[in-house]
């Protein structure tokens, strides 16, 4: 038989197509809804339960906590894989797109849930949660924001919502102020700006403020949302799916004006691309009077090796004070933190182990240990406990802030919406767009995204 070149090419093309089809087909062996009799599926063979998160101190704390879990389940090793924060969403959702994940438990930002649920990427754990989780032990806002979908109002649970995750790490912004330079933490946002300005004028070489301004993930967007909340603004009307005319109403414009024209001039030169690490570095270097940071990133402020504020943690704490965000026309603070979820594409024994980990994690003593390692737990009793409040000097800020939390939209379109917001707020902060124009652009572009999805 004579082999003709076109036959070779055709055979290769068929093979390619077969491989591609196989790649496009569903992988993994899990079910869409978690079973409540997961314990019967637990394996005694060596197993690595892998998480995926972004690189920051709580990720290492979680791996450390995993050693406690290994004491209960000696055949299980907990591995927390991390990616740079800018790649966090993509690292998870590109694997979801391939319908095959190298992680069992994705740590999803509260706003990613909608996208993951609508695409069928994570397990429905409603029945599991009803049976094994004491939901009264949590602030309902946490359960809603970190695990439930859909929500008619951001963060608030609704009767029809299903559960897709449980709180892992609570978080919000804290105000960090130089208590050696500013005697009392400012109580209102206007007072805070005045105190920062005065401190900057009195201390040449220092800047009044440091906050997130970067054009990455939700950096600049959270900053605007915070000021928007403080000045009585709203991000949207969830019932009508309306953004235009709400985010850019009078309160929203006032917030943008305060951010760009009053706060930005008090920040260090060139800080227009700052995010978590840069704000920490500026505070550690003694370059700013007041900073705003996620609580989860604060262990970096107390490390004498990277701080010029003192040679010991105690010396640093003589200069740094932590307080809940000042109020103004309203008292919202941004909800950070994340829930833990289970990949639909993980093998069945890994899914069972993940559910067992979730059950184990709900225990008060485990959550207390989590707090001691640097995590922020979700249980109300632990948040109010002395053990938690004494574990870190900024933990009280979180406990005080819980009733004031407000989150973004947790819609499937979140990634597009937040990109519009971050890009345009960053543009306004760096002078490439006028504040009002940037806000109107945010409103119209976000509205177009929501209208497309109606």
């Amino acid at each position: 038989m004579r082999i003709r070149p076109y036959r070779v090419a055709a055979a290769v093309a068929v093979a390619c197509a077969a491989v591609a089809l196989a790649a496009c087909g569903g992988g993994g062996g899990g079910n869409a809804a978690a079973s409540t009799d997961f314990q019967s599926k637990l394996s005694d063979k060596p197993l690595t339960l892998s998480f995926i998160w972004f690189e920051w101190p709580p990720a290492h704390a979680l791996e450390e906590l995993g050693k406690e879990y290994t004491k209960v389940r000696p055949n299980v090793t907990i591995k927390v894989n991390t990616v740079p924060i800018a790649n966090w969403h993509d690292a998870i959702f590109t694997q979801f797109a391939a319908k095959k994940t190298n992680f069992d438990m994705p740590i999803l930002d509260s706003q990613y849930i909608g996208e993951a649920v609508e695409n069928g990427n994570i397990l429905d754990i409603t029945d599991f949660a009803k049976k094994y989780v004491d939901r009264s032990a949590y602030d309902p806002y946490f359960l809603a924001a970190y695990g439930q979908y859909p929500q008619t109002k951001t963060g608030e649970p609704t009767p029809n919502s299903r559960t897709y995750g449980l709180p892992l790490m609570g978080d919000t912004w804290s105000m960090i102020y130089r208590k050696d330079l500013i005697k009392q933490p400012p109580q209102t946002w206007d007072e805070m700006i005045a105190a920062a300005r005065q401190c900057q004028e009195e201390h040449p070489g220092m800047s009044g403020l440091a906050f997130h301004q970067a054009n990455a993930t939700d950096a600049a967007a959270v900053t605007y949302n915070t000021v928007n909340g403080v000045y009585g603004g709203e991000l949207w009307d969830p019932a009508k799916k309306q953004i235009e005319g709400i985010v850019n109403n009078a309160a929203g414009k006032k917030a943008m004006d305060v951010l760009v024209n009053q706060m930005k001039p008090l920040t260090p030169k060139g800080s227009g691309n700052w995010f978590i690490d840069e704000v920490n570095a500026a505070i550690n270097q003694g370059k700013v009077c007041i900073g705003f940071q996620w609580i989860g990133a604060m262990p970096g402020l107390l490390d004498p090796k990277s701080s010029k504020l003192g040679t010991t943690k105690e010396e640093i704490l003589q200069k740094l004070g932590f307080a809940a965000l000042p109020k103004q026309d309203s008292d919202y603070v941004p909800l950070g933190g994340m829930g833990m979820h289970i990949s639909k594409y993980a093998p069945a024994d890994h899914q069972a182990e993940a559910l067992n980990f979730m059950k184990w994690f709900q225990q008060p003593e485990v959550q207390t240990r989590w707090a001691q390692l640097g995590g922020v737990p979700g249980r109300k009793d632990v948040l109010a406990s002395k053990a938690f409040l004494d574990a870190a000097p900024y933990n009280k800020v979180f406990t005080d802030s819980v009733p004031r939390l407000r989150d973004f939209w947790n819609l499937p379109q979140y990634a597009k919406l937040v990109n519009i917001q971050t890009t345009n707020v960053n543009a306004a902060l760096n002078g490439t767009e006028k504040p009002d124009e940037a806000l109107d652009k945010i409103a119209s572009e976000q509205q177009a995204i929501l209208d497309e999805s109606k």
């Binding site: 290769v12 800080s271 227009g272």
Partner: protein
């Protein structure tokens, strides 16, 4: 006289050796087909198939993450992209970047190559030294330039302050951010142009220079009428390669500025990335990619025709 004529043995008495008999169905043609099959398979699997698949997806509203069937929407993605003000803005940014970066790299690369070619001692060491930036990963280059250009902690501003020139916001000022990306790209890729230009310069026949010396031609005349015309075609090929690379710039923008401030440094490739991975509009991102491939192919064709005409002269 000895008889040197060799009488060939009769064919009837010959039998093929066992191995040849076993593989006699392997004719030259079949063997050639078998040899190229692995390379062809790789090419089909890694290049042709993804391209065709992307072409197919570009006519659909497919999303890689949504568990719903895609719809065939004909040229909707293409018309949306071609009429989008956002895409036009990114195209202008990309054009400014490509023209500025390539002009700068060509000028510097050729100048360095010309100066090196005139040296007799240390030419190899100098060439190796100049090539180092090109050997580095663009991500590594982006990261260390990001640190160096940082307005507060960076060595560049520190140096400028020492000289009394003040500080600049290299990565966050809308007028400087794109310039910074151009400078970093130039730092990394000038050696490529230099290398090609150096190859061209060393290939210029010595006798042409000797003849021009006899004719008492000035240095400028020699450069204008001998060096440049002979190196020019090779230089243009280097420019073509660099222009294609620059046209799809992504890594440096991603690391250095994230496309900011605002969208002032967002290139087409960066915008494709956002389209593909923020919201996973896979169909539209595929159309975007196909459009970029078409632009490169069309421009490269014009360029190659010019190059061919130049060589025919």
């Amino acid at each position: 006289m000895a008889d040197t004529t060799i009488t060939p043995p009769s064919r009837a008495g010959l039998t093929a050796p066992p191995a040849a008999r076993r593989f006699r169905h392997l004719t030259d043609g079949r063997l050639a087909g078998l040899f190229i099959a692995p390379a062809l398979a790789l090419l089909l699997f890694l290049s042709i198939f993804p391209l065709l698949w992307a072409l197919y997806l570009s006519f659909t509203d497919y999303s890689a993450t949504r568990d719903v069937p895609s719809n065939w929407i004909w040229f909707q993605n293409y018309t949306d992209l071609l009429s989008s003000a956002e895409v036009h803005q990114r195209a202008i940014t990309t054009l400014i970047f490509v023209v500025s970066a390539i002009a700068l790299q060509t000028l510097l690369g050729f100048t360095i190559a010309y100066l090196i070619s005139r040296r007799t001692r240390g030419r190899g060491a100098l060439t190796t030294l100049f090539l180092i930036p090109m050997m580095l990963s663009p991500v590594v280059v982006g990261l260390f330039w990001k640190f160096m250009l940082d307005a507060q902690f960076g060595v560049v501003n520190s140096f400028l302050t020492t000289l009394g020139l003040g500080e600049a916001e290299w990565l966050t000022d809308k007028r400087l951010a794109l310039l910074s990306v151009i400078v970093v790209d130039t730092w990394q890729w000038t050696p490529f142009i230099m290398l090609i230009a150096l190859a061209g310069l060393t290939a210029v026949p010595k006798y042409l220079y000797e003849a021009s010396e006899i004719d008492r031609a000035s240095e400028w005349l020699r450069f204008r009428h001998i060096t440049l015309p002979l190196v020019w075609p090779l230089l243009l090929i280097a420019v073509l390669f660099r222009a294609i690379e620059a046209f799809r710039l992504f890594d440096l923008v991603y690391i250095l500025t994230g496309g900011g401030p605002g969208v002032s440094t967002e290139t087409l490739s960066f915008h494709v990335y956002k389209t593909a991975f923020l919201g996973f509009d896979t169909g539209r991102a595929s159309a975007y990619g196909i459009l970029m491939v078409i632009v490169v192919i069309v421009l490269a064709q014009f360029y190659l025709r010019y190059l061919n005409r130049l060589q025919e002269r």
